[in-house]
């Protein structure tokens, strides 16, 4: 909705779009072609077995779990988005 405001006018639809794009971006990171090359593979995350894992381990955990959990829902949501955008522009 184009409205003359001096700040960005968010709608809930734009929030959904942002969420889908961000999740897609995380899901696209390939494990062995990309993440291992830059030292972010799954075997490089579990460093110290102290009480708290570091930030890097948490990030790697997050990426891996997002990729595992959201793979199938993302397929469905992306297909729906493609169909809707083709139909309704």
């Amino acid at each position: 909705m184009a409205l003359k405001r001096n700040n960005m006018a968010f709608t809930l639809y734009s929030l959904i779009q942002t969420a889908i794009l961000c999740t897609n971006a995380i899901a696209v990171l390939h494990e062995e072609r990309f993440l291992s090359k830059i030292g972010w593979g799954v075997d490089q995350g579990v460093g110290g077995f102290g009480d708290d894992p570091g930030i890097k381990a948490q990030i790697l955990n997050l990426i891996r779990s997002v990729r595992t959990v959201m793979r199938v829902p993302l397929i469905i949501v992306n297909s729906a988005c493609i169909v809707l955008l083709l139909l309704f522009g």
Binding site: F10, L15, D52, P53, Q58
Partner: protein, 308 residues
């Protein structure tokens, strides 16, 4: 049934005593007859539907009795359907969030709301910021003024939307779509802030008992400051707007830092695992200060267009 009629009739002037007396006889007849028939019809048809004793109650109530079995059956079916629907909705909702936990956040009373609003606007004299517990469960907001609630943020959010509509109407820029847009923008900012806070708390493995609802509550407290700022801006013009903005920003920053310090930063009494890495307390401090600094920015962002 007779007493109120008598009372009313006495206040009327005497000249109209006779016709009202005549009307009252008619009114009394029908009013005393019909409810008796109706009540008798309902009660008996509730107990034995369509029994032979119903037909002997009187010819005048035949319409009631014919309609009643069907209406009663329909009513009972409808109420059972509604109960089933209610149970299903409750079950589905309780899969996502526990309603009991939500009820805790809405257990407020007037005294708590007033004290909390005063603390939000003037937190500098509040001494004790510790959240009191009662056998390992946090106290409800009714008993502890430091507990966070969701009532104030919800009401403040709705009031902010209404106030934004009013402010836009004063500037003759109002239309219903703008109101919805303002509401969804504010909601999106709350969601973004809560998600960023959750992400940063997860990444830094901060073990707190801050639940998602607590974070939503702390995000929503800024709407009280926004309402105050917009009101001052409307009443006192641009200067009043900036003064109120500065005041509510400082108050909110102080409030957020003091409240979150208790929950995020390790206190001396808790068993911190030795002073492991020095980065941890600093990063936690950064989180607290960053979320506090975010408040005035967002207040300015969401209210500056309302006050020109």
């Amino acid at each position: 049934m007779d007493l109120p009629h008598h009372g009313y009739r006495e206040t009327k002037p005497r000249a109209r005593a006779a016709p009202t007396a005549g009307d009252s006889v008619l009114f009394e007849d029908t009013s005393s007859a019909a409810p008796a028939m109706n009540s008798q019809g309902y009660y008996t048809s509730g107990y034995n539907m369509g029994g032979p004793s119903n037909d002997m109650q009187g010819g005048g109530g035949m319409n009631n009795l014919f309609a009643d079995p069907m209406a009663n059956a329909a009513m009972m079916y409808g109420s059972s359907l509604a109960n089933q629907g209610k149970d299903m909705v409750n079950k589905e909702i309780s899969r996502f969030m526990s309603v009991n936990k939500l009820k805790y956040f809405f257990a407020v009373d007037t005294r708590y709301v007033l004290k909390k609003l005063m603390i939000l606007m003037f937190p500098y004299t509040h001494q004790d910021w510790e959240v009191r517990y009662h056998r390992d469960t946090p106290l409800t907001p009714r008993q502890d003024v430091n507990a966070s609630d969701l009532y104030i943020p919800t009401m403040a959010f709705i009031t902010y939307i209404l106030l934004a509509g009013m402010a836009l109407g004063i500037q003759k820029r109002f239309s219903p779509e703008v109101l919805g847009l303002c509401a969804s923008t504010a909601l999106v900012w709350v969601i973004i802030e809560v998600l960023v806070m959750l992400l940063s708390l997860y990444l830094l493995t901060v073990h707190t008992d801050l639940s998602t609802f607590d974070l939503i509550a702390y995000s929503g407290y800024k709407y009280v400051g926004m309402i105050f700022t917009v009101l001052c801006g409307l009443l006192f013009g641009s200067d009043g707007y900036f003064v109120a903005l500065a005041w509510s920003s400082f108050a909110l920053m102080f409030f957020i830092v003091r409240s979150l310090k208790m929950k995020i930063l390790p206190s001396l009494s808790s068993d911190s695992m030795g002073m492991g890495s020095n980065a941890k307390p600093q990063l936690r401090l950064y989180i607290t200060v960053a979320s506090a600094l975010f408040q005035p920015i967002i207040i300015y962002w969401l209210t500056s267009h309302l006050v020109r």
